[in-house]
Subunit: 245 residues, 2 copies
């Protein structure tokens, strides 16, 4: 009598949205990662009780959907609130006493784009990940036992270290549960392990830190690399992210 | 009296051919990197006296150009010589007593593709890099004082660790001469520094090692991560790579 080896699901890391079309998403859970700051803000707003988050591609659509739903409109370009919208992309703008039971309609440069690409490519399931909801993401991926794509949003299609650091942190927790043949995932995990003991010093060396520090957003970024400060699980259903809890 | 700060040229690392269009190549030297094994073999054949190397896209063109030039035709798919061609992609097939004064016409999966993309995007200058000619590449880039793109060939447009390790080795030697605002380059350099003391153990963990080891190519790959064993400088001129020396 032979015993069939237990097969584990696959796991891949996609380093920028421009590489997503190399992967088959049909049976996969795609984790959208935009550490600075879209997915950190999404986790925070849902944790603080937002009823849902509607991610949209453009400021125009943000205004329109805001009107239709009565939602709070949010979006920044170059560190400033986009004219016509009401709030920015900072997690600190969405405490419970403001966002609870409200709809957040948000447009962001990189994360929203990747989410819509994943939808278009027929992802089975889409969630968002960030350090503030790391353990919730890990728990969900272990529980689902399905193929995983860790999708890094990057910056205008270029590779970003902070997103791959989060991918590496997830991999560190779930690698025994998956069958990984992916150099991007090996690299992500090695980079995370190399830097994990002093992320707050290391993060100051990456390009996006410098870009956002020029707008005075250092505190925001340090929050965005803090683990489990907003333990929600944003999952995309019927055009919006809701908290699966 | 003010003294103008001396400006250094830029340096970027491109992680796969699919990301090349994000970069302006017009004033740049592009280093084509395909560690396993195209650019290692190219450095070796030129070091051993090949008069030139003509990289072509397809086996059909390889046969045609071979006939026109009287060159040695070479190319593999899945670890076997492509029907109609005469030799493979292994550096060990091109010792001096075979290749000296001959033309090598070669087709490879990833490196040739990237080289032709760089040409099409108007790169100022194209050279090839690999561990066997690391010091020659470093010396050339320091001497030219122009913007640099380290172009990793990857595997079917996916990210490959061995190519980025070579990029990291180059960066380690020239980083003081360049102005680097590129997370891909920071990552490449950090990964190289993390692994450089035992590359021959580390390399056995990457996906491409397993793919090629299945064809019995372990010795080839260990050669391909040996530094300065074939100190040539392949530079692309008039449709072919020649040894600048």
């Amino acid at each position: 009598m032979t015993t069939a080896a237990k097969t584990k699901p696959s796991l891949h890391t996609v380093l920028t949205p421009q590489l997503l079309d190399l992967y088959d998403l049909k049976d996969s859970i795609v984790v959208i990662i935009d550490v600075f700051r879209a997915t950190s803000t999404m986790a925070t707003a849902l944790y603080n009780g937002a009823s849902k988050i509607i991610p949209v591609d453009t400021p125009e659509l943000c205004i329109e959907v805001g009107k239709q739903t009565g939602g709070v409109t949010a979006g920044e370009r170059d560190g400033k609130i986009i004219p016509g919208l009401s709030y920015g992309n900072s997690p600190s703008e969405y405490p419970r006493d403001f966002i609870e039971n409200k709809i957040l309609v948000i447009t962001t440069t990189n994360g929203t784009k990747l989410l819509h690409l994943a939808l278009k490519q027929g992802a089975k399931d889409i969630i968002t990940g960030s350090f503030p909801n790391l353990s919730k993401v890990v728990e969900y991926l272990k529980e689902q036992n399905a193929p995983v794509i860790l999708g890094c949003s990057g910056w205008k299609n270029r590779f970003n270290i902070e997103d791959v650091l989060f991918a590496g942190a997830v991999i560190e927790e779930i690698k025994d549960n998956f069958d990984i043949h992916c150099d991007s995932s090996f690299m992500a995990n090695q980079l995370y392990n190399q830097q994990k003991n002093d992320l707050s010093t290391y993060i100051k060396t990456v390009t996006h830190w410098h870009r956002l520090a020029a707008y005075g957003l250092e505190e925001d970024m340090l929050y965005c690399i803090s683990k489990d400060t907003a333990p929600s699980l944003p999952i995309f259903k019927d055009g919006a992210l809701i908290n699966r809890g």
